[in-house]
């Protein structure tokens, strides 16, 4: 029974405007999709989930302000987000002190979950996928050498560069050149000229898809014929309006899920997302969806375990209950079956996807 008008408030912090708005919007849209579906299906014993969403512009100060507002003014019971690593790190430390249940879908920086036991994430960490794609290059593609081009002003890109380099050293794979560029650059020809000079078999592009596409395009223009290897940020490259698929034909990238998977959960998600937003979901959307799913299911568990007349609040006690429920998560999600390790990171594999004939195709689990 209970009061059917009662709602449970969850906060969302995402970069909705600014330079990284694309990622934030993908996550926010997916979260909304899940919450809508969940509420339509009846919520938790009639109680609906309400999300309060704030923009952080991808900026640490804004994220801290948004966090404070959600916790102190809006009295949310838990928070999803932020989306990219820098704001997430500054919120992580604050929230650890308050012990607020937090889950980010997408912040891949290793330290995010290290400040306290309250922070969870739906994605794997950077070192993991960096290692995976490097091993894939050596084992599966039998490549001998590779070069890296990365964004020096971005923690995500730099982190992946480091893990690729480390794995390469470990397995004896040759890195012929490592070149950097700055945020906002659109001309990579100088760096690519240097890279091509060293004749690598593959080029690692640990970067989001917008720049990755430009890099591939210019590398081809400069006569590079080898293979491009990307990361989860590459996902979405084919969804850009007016993209020329031939440029990225044959590219491999590590990802959280394969949209062409026949797994019924994935099929349904892709379909629903498509219906609501008129486009295919990318990995960020899938992770946002999963984050929402994991958190809401934990809340559901808490309420159901609370028994008749239980009213969820944002008290310290209830926060701990949600955190405990989160830790016990075992759920079939879009990006795979999720269970958390002792550091609140999901234990899951990454998938390798190849772009063939203008579409993503699942290649292997790694």
């Amino acid at each position: 029974a209970g009061d059917s008008a009662e709602v449970i408030k969850i906060g969302v912090i995402a970069s909705l405007t600014g330079e990284v708005a694309v990622y934030g919007n993908a996550v926010a849209e997916a979260v909304k999709l899940y919450v809508e579906q969940f509420n339509e299906a009846g919520g938790i014993g009639g109680k609906k989930i309400k999300i309060i969403e704030y923009d952080d512009k991808g900026n640490a100060t804004e994220a801290v302000n948004a966090y404070n507002r959600l916790v102190s003014s809006d009295n949310v019971v838990a928070i999803i987000g932020p989306v990219i690593s820098t704001p997430t790190l500054s919120v992580a430390e604050l929230s650890a002190a308050d012990n607020v249940p937090m889950i980010t879908g997408t912040a891949t920086h290793p330290d995010v979950t290290k400040y306290g036991k309250n922070y969870f994430r739906a994605c794997f960490e950077d070192p993991f996928q960096g290692g995976a794609i490097t091993r894939f290059a050596a084992d599966y593609l039998k490549a001998k050498s590779g070069a890296i081009i990365y964004n020096t002003s971005d923690a995500y890109s730099t982190g992946l560069k480091d893990s690729i380099t480390a794995t390469a050293n470990e397995i004896g794979f040759t890195i012929t050149a490592t070149e950097g560029y700055a945020k906002g650059d659109v001309d990579f020809k100088a760096q690519l000229t240097n890279i091509i000079q060293t004749n690598p078999d593959v080029i690692f592009i640990p970067e989001y898809y917008q720049s990755a596409y430009l890099i591939c395009k210019q590398a081809r223009e400069l006569g590079f014929t080898g293979t491009f290897l990307g990361v989860d940020g590459t996902d979405g490259i084919l969804e850009m309006e007016g993209v020329d698929p031939s440029i990225v034909e044959g590219m491999y990238f590590a990802n959280h899920f394969a949209a062409d998977s026949t797994d019924p959960d994935v099929v349904k998600f892709v379909e629903d997302y498509n219906k609501k937003y008129g486009k295919n979901p990318n990995a960020l959307a899938a992770l946002g969806y999963d984050a929402a799913m994991i958190l809401i299911n934990a809340i559901k568990t808490v309420i159901e375990n609370g028994g008749e007349g239980f009213a969820l609040t944002n008290s310290a006690e209830h926060r701990q209950l949600i955190i405990d429920a989160l830790r016990a998560t075992e759920l079939d999600c879009v990006t795979g079956n999720i269970k958390f390790d002792e550091n609140n990171n999901p234990i899951k594999e990454c998938v390798i996807i190849q772009i063939r004939d203008g579409a993503n195709h699942f290649v292997a689990n790694y």
């Binding site: 909705l16 405007t17 969403e53 704030y54 923009d55 900026n59 640490a60 100060t61 804004e62 801290v64 302000n65 948004a66 404070n68 507002r69 959600l70 916790v71 102190s72 003014s73 820098t86 790190l89 500054s90 430390e93 604050l94 920086h109 330290d111 964004n151 020096t152 002003s153 971005d154 923690a155 890109s157 730099t158 982190g159 700055a182 945020k183």
Partner: protein, 345 residues
């Protein structure tokens, strides 16, 4: 004639101002609680005072060069970042007790920024106007790129983490008060007059015996010093430093506060910095339209009040009090006249 003031004794004005500061302090403690929690306001509202204070320090210190010295620097965020990293590194790598380490780290941040101010000011201040703007913009970007590329020290793009979160509303307030006092003390002195005379006419200033280069560089490093303090506060507030935070847009944001408040008006900078910190928070509910509204507001204010909200108005408590007294007198006086007129009809 010398403007008559309600209270003409300097020492008395100082007592009044001290009392006002103490009252403000008391109010702040009441609102936010002694530790930033447990006051009348919730934590979110209390915490806003910190970025507000940081922005006030940044705006007022930039006003020193932009408003009083009359130069146009576009790299203030660069000094802020230098101060932030210096203070943070100091805190991370020393283990004094917090009560010593935090204030000391702020001073270290300020001094390192001031040294950069001198290093950059010496060559840059040979140029004027837009050229100075561009060259300081360039220095700001260089600082940022260098911070990004010495990851061993600064953490590079990963950001610098593990900075103790020592900044509180109270410590911010103390820094704001000290900054305002020192900058006010500087402006209202022979040095301040020399600085303003450079803005008014550099050649005449030289001809009156003012060593303009010395004063320009000094002002520049002063301004950088306070930006460094603000950086230190920021570092210990947010806990993580990301070089991207200190880009060109940050410098522009600070400049906007100064210009909006009025170049050469300290109270203007304080009010504008306060308002522009709160405004985006008020607009948080409309995140999509937030920046559009913000930019429109900027244009509209400039078009209708190009000298900024306060022009060059300088605020003093006693001055304001006597202004109000005068206004009341005038009002009552006019009333009498009004009655008189009616009677005459």
């Amino acid at each position: 004639m010398k403007p008559t003031r309600l209270i003409d004794k300097t020492w008395f004005r100082y007592i009044i101002n001290t009392i006002a500061v103490l009252l403000a302090f008391g109010l702040l403690v009441l609102l936010t609680g002694p530790t930033g929690e447990g006051g009348l306001l919730n934590k979110y509202m209390s915490q806003i005072f910190i970025p507000m204070g940081i922005n006030i320090i940044l705006a007022v210190s930039l006003n020193l060069t932009a408003g009083f010295l009359g130069q146009l620097p576009l790299g203030h965020a660069g000094f802020m970042s230098v101060g932030a990293y210096a203070a943070a590194l100091f805190s991370i790598h020393t283990d004094f007790p917090k009560a010593i380490s935090f204030p000391l780290s702020l001073i270290v941040g300020g001094i390192v920024a001031a040294i950069f101010g001198i290093l950059i000011g010496l060559p840059a201040l040979r140029l004027k106007g837009d050229y100075l703007a561009i060259i300081t913009l360039g220095f700001g970007e260089i600082i940022r790129v260098i911070i990004l590329n010495i990851p061993k020290i600064t953490g590079g793009a990963y950001g610098l983490k593990g900075i103790p979160k020592d900044t509180t509303v109270i410590s911010t307030f103390v820094c704001v008060v000290i900054t305002l006092f020192l900058i006010h003390a500087l402006i209202k002195s022979r040095h301040g007059r020399a600085i303003i005379s450079i803005r008014e006419d550099e050649i005449a200033s030289e001809a009156s015996g003012i060593p303009t280069t010395y004063y320009k560089v000094t002002t520049f490093s002063f301004s950088a010093f306070f930006a460094g303090i603000a950086g230190g506060l920021y570092a210990h507030f947010i806990g993580v430093l990301d070089p991207a935070e200190f880009g060109f847009m940050r410098s522009v944001e600070i400049l906007v506060m100064v210009v909006l408040g009025g170049m050469g008006s300290i109270i203007g900078s304080v009010v504008a910095a306060g308002a522009l910190t709160v405004l985006p928070e008020v607009l948080r509910g409309f995140s999509e339209y937030r920046m559009v509204v913000y930019s429109l507001l900027l244009i509209v204010v400039m078009v209708f009040k190009p000298s900024g909200l306060f022009g060059r108005y300088d605020f003093s408590l006693c001055g304001a009090a006597s202004d109000i007294a005068k206004a009341i007198k005038k009002l009552t006086h006019r009333n009498k006249l009004g009655i008189h007129e009616e009677a005459g009809k």
